[in-house]
Structures are given as structure tokens and as C-alpha cells.
């Protein structure tokens, strides 16, 4: 059913009895053209664009738990395209463009809010680096503005501008960036894919792969064997574990990233702000809670919970940035498992095994990439060739030396 003001009105007048489930909870069929492993944002977006753009509708998305139960529901909901390197920037901008039309595309309220992201700088050297990034963005056709201290103060007068160690000297602003409702993105893509005939199979964990020679021709699951023309992995956080079932070793380590939300407040922060002297980012949800986070914990983990040193580090970052949040109480904190790749950039590529495709290595930047990741992965699966904006995300770039290292820290995943 199509959502509209009229459907809202009609159901409001009839006791809300006319709503139907947004997608079917399907049972797996014996075979599909394409199986997508992983019912997060990326997997569901891939299924949606396979059906919508490429007309491939005999598709199943299989998910070990319920859809959106992994990192799609654990992020800090920030969307942006303020990257430096040529391999990254066109891709993330394509994602930003898809975000801008997402709700009309899906007929679903994903609460996309282009409230702007401001990256603060605290030294001359950092200003130069941000000016360079801003210029690189403009060369790629993306909006960016370098603000001086006076203009930042006009936007956010409550920041600690004269902090003794990290005085705020200005910021790089991308006005088109913002936030989106993470669960609604999952549900919107699920509904769109389901409407076009895609089966969404929950509580169905992959336990192995069906092989004919080298080729992958299906999956073994907790709900039986399913054959497929192509199998596509979108299981960030667990990519190494699932790939290991097919005998592959990946350039990825799994690390835990924590995020936090405070008790609800009246509106205090109308955009997204990042602290440049540490790693701290904060925005306010539409419910009023401040949503914030910092660095990954820094050691291999599949635990979906972190440790206290990072909590302290995040709190210190917040206090250095805006001391007014010091008396705020924390409502919730949680952890998600990140695919930390060896250069900090993702992988959307074929694997050495015919019939097996890989979408992985999103580090802690996967949410903003959801639409373009789905678009480009669907393009690769349907046409066999990488999408023009995702051609750099190759699995073999570590062998050939074409790394995309935004941060420049080398093959040390816990530092990206």
C-alpha cells in the first residue's frame, strides 16, 4: 500500500485498522537468482536496487537475526560526503544524492535531515588540512565552506572557543550533510524490495557454501540449503567469519565501536558537530537525546560491547568541546562490530570464487554509504562490472598497491 496524507487520514478516521505489514516474513525457496547474505541497510538496499534498477526480482535477503539488528541499528545516523581522496569522494557524493531523494524514492519517511556537519579545527596545520579537504570536495562538485572562528561562534556560541589546550579556530562545514533515521532506512528498503518480489528471510544463518568446483552455487543455512546463481555478502562486522566458510581470508579485522545517547533535552544542537582535537561527534535526535561517539576501542572484538577507557575518552572529548553537557545523564550506550579494513576504505568487488560477491570493510562509516553501497553492489552483481563511482573499492588493491588511506596510518586497522 502506498503511504500518503490520504491513507493517513483514512486510517485515522477508521481506528488505524487498515494498515498492512510493510514486508512479508518469507520462508526460503529452494533456489534464487541472487542470494544476499545480510539483512542490514546495505543488503536490503542492494536487493532493492537489483529489483528496481536491474529488474532482477528472484532475490532473497537472508539474515541470521531480524533485519536491521546489526550495525544498521547501532550507528550514530550521520550522513555526509566530506571525503578527501578521489577513490572515495565521488562514491560518497553519489550516496548523498541518493539520500536527498530517498524518501520520495521509497515512499517512506526516513527522516533525512540536512542539518549540516561542522568539523572543527584547532590549529593552523589542521586548518590547512581542512582547507585542502574542502577544496578537494569542491573540485568533485560537493559543497563545502571553510568557516573562521567568528562564523563558527555565530552558529554555536556555546562551544568552548578559548579552551586552553584546544582553542577552536574555525571549521569545515558541509551544509548538505546531516542525519537520517537508521531503522526507517532499513524498513524503507525492506518494504521497497519486498514490494518488487524480493524474499526477506529472517532467523536464517549461513553455515556454509554450496560449491561446484571453485564456483559458489548456493548456501547452507539453519533453514536448509538454498541454491543461487550468485551469492553476495553484505555482512560487515562478520565478513571474515562468513568469508572463512568459503575458505577466503580478508584484509579485515573486527573491532568494537561504542555509541551513546543522553536523556532527552529541548533543542540545543541543530547540526552535527565534530571535535578536531580528539575523536568526538555529536548531534541531537528528533526525540531530543544527544547522540554521540568517538573512537573504536582498538582491539579485535566480536563482543558488541566495549570497555570503560573509551567511555572516559569520549566523555573528555565532549567536555572539551561543550562543557554545558557536563551535567547531562547518559541514557544508553552500546557497541557494534566494525569491519576495519587495512586502509580504512570499503570493498565492493567480486571474489576469487566465481559466483561470490563481497561488500565489506566499511570501518565505522557504513551508514552514510547505505544507498550508494546498495546501488553499486547491485550494479556489480547485475552487470559484472563495477559502478563508475565504486571502481576503486577493489579487493586486490592491497596486492597492487592502490590503497585508499584517508587517514594515512597504513595497515593498522585499529588506528583508522
Amino acid at each position: 500500500m502506498r503511504y500518503s496524507f490520504l491513507s493517513l487520514l483514512a486510517n485515522g478516521l477508521t481506528g488505524q485498522k487498515g494498515w498492512t505489514p510493510a514486508w512479508r516474513d518469507a520462508a526460503p525457496k529452494p533456489a534464487y537468482d541472487v542470494i544476499i547474505v545480510g539483512g542490514g541497510g546495505h543488503g536490503l538496499a542492494t536487493a532493492y536496487y537489483l529489483a528496481k534498477v536491474h529488474g532482477i526480482t528472484n532475490v532473497a535477503v537472508i539474515e541470521k537475526s531480524y533485519i536491521g539488528s546489526g550495525n544498521a541499528g547501532r550507528n550514530t545516523t550521520i550522513i555526509r560526503s566530506n571525503y578527501l581522496l578521489p577513490g572515495n569522494e565521488p562514491f560518497y557524493e553519489w550516496s548523498m544524492k541518493l539520500w536527498e531523494g530517498l524518501e520520495q524514492e521509497l515512499n517512506y519517511n526516513a527522516m533525512v535531515s540536512q542539518r549540516g556537519i561542522l568539523n572543527l579545527f584547532h590549529s593552523d596545520a589542521q586548518r590547512d588540512a581542512y582547507a585542502r579537504r574542502g577544496n578537494a570536495m569542491r573540485l568533485a562538485g560537493v559543497d563545502s565552506e571553510l568557516l573562521d572562528r567568528r562564523r563558527v561562534r555565530a552558529m554555536y556560541p556555546f562551544l568552548d572557543f578559548d579552551n586552553a589546550r584546544f582553542p577552536i579556530q574555525g571549521g569545515l562545514l558541509q551544509r548538505r550533510a546531516g542525519t537520517a533515521r537508521h531503522d526507517a532506512v532499513v524498513w524503507g528498503y525492506a518494504r521497497g524490495a519486498d514490494t518488487r518480489g524480493v524474499d526477506i528471510v529472517q532467523n536464517c544463518e549461513v553455515t556454509g557454501f554450496l560449491r561446484e568446483g571453485d564456483a559458489i552455487v548456493g548456501v547452507e543455512t539453519t533453514r536448509g540449503t538454498i541454491r543461487a546463481g550468485k551469492v553476495a555478502l553484505a555482512v560487515a562486522g562478520n565478513s571474515s567469519r562468513v568469508a572463512a566458510l568459503a575458505g577466503l581470508r580478508l584484509p579485515i579485522e573486527s573491532h568494537v565501536l561504542q555509541a551513546f545517547v543522553s536523556e532527552g533535552l529541548k533543542p540545543v544542537i541543530d547540526g552535527v558537530i565534530t571535535f578536531g582535537a580528539g575523536h568526538f561527534y555529536i548531534s541531537q535526535s528528533d526525540k531530543g537525546g544527544l547522540v554521540f561517539g568517538g573512537d573504536i576501542d582498538g582491539y579485535n572484538s566480536y563482543a558488541q560491547r566495549g570497555n570503560l577507557p573509551v567511555v572516559e575518552d569520549v566523555a573528555e572529548g565532549g567536555m572539551a568541546l561543550m562543557p554545558r553537557i557536563g551535567r547531562l545523564r547518559l541514557l544508553r550506550m552500546w557497541g557494534g562490530i566494525m569491519d576495519m579494513s587495512m586502509d580504512g576504505s570499503p570493498i565492493i568487488d567480486r571474489t576469487p570464487l566465481p559466483g561470490l560477491y563481497l561488500n565489506a570493510g566499511w570501518c565505522y562509516g557504513g551508514f552514510k554509504a547505505t544507498p550508494a553501497s546498495g546501488w553499486c553492489f547491485a550494479h556489480l552483481i547485475a552487470t559484472g562490472a563495477p559502478h563508475e563511482t565504486a571502481g576503486a573499492f577493489r579487493l586486490d588493491r592491497f596486492r597492487t598497491g592502490h590503497l585508499i588511506d584517508e587517514k594515512g596510518v597504513g595497515a593498522q586497522p585499529n588506528l583508522h
Binding site: 573486527s254 579485535n300 566480536y302 577507557p309 592491497f398
Partner: protein
Amino acid sequence: MRIPCPYCGARDAHEFAYLGDATLTRPDPAAADAADRFHDYVYLRDNPAGRHQEWWYHANGCRQWLRLTRDTRTHAIEAAEPARRDATQADMPGAAS
């Protein structure tokens, strides 16, 4: 997470710096297939969910390198041994017999 440093006793994890997988062996640079082996050594990881051998450095403590055996699903530490064993460490946990 507290790490049982064999030199200092149980210390908070934030005193330590993490390097990663301790099961990797640096390949012979003179080998014929050194480029392939170095690719695997530098970039590829088993990344297990479960028991993991890993290097930690007690940066804000004794400044010694340790080899930890830790479960990546629970963060429980099974063993913490000196990275380099010699005769002076004979009485330490995990030291070579």
C-alpha cells in the same frame, strides 16, 4: 578489561597499546614468492571470533611487549605471557620450560 601483566600484575587496559595478531610470521624477503607472502603477512588476517593471540605493549607501565590469549567474543583473557622469553623470566607465567 584488566590485563594481567606478568611484570606488573592486573592493570587497566588503557595503560596498554594494541598491535594485533601475534600468530603472523614475517616472511623471508629473499624467497622467490616474497611479494605474495608479504601481501598476506601485512594485509590478511584470520580475524577469529573466539580465541585470539595478540600483541599488547604496556606503554604506561613496564614498557614490555606481551602476548595475550583473549576471547574476542567475551574479552576474557586466558593468558598473558612475556613476548620474549629468556632465563630471567623462568618463574613467570607461560615462560618456556
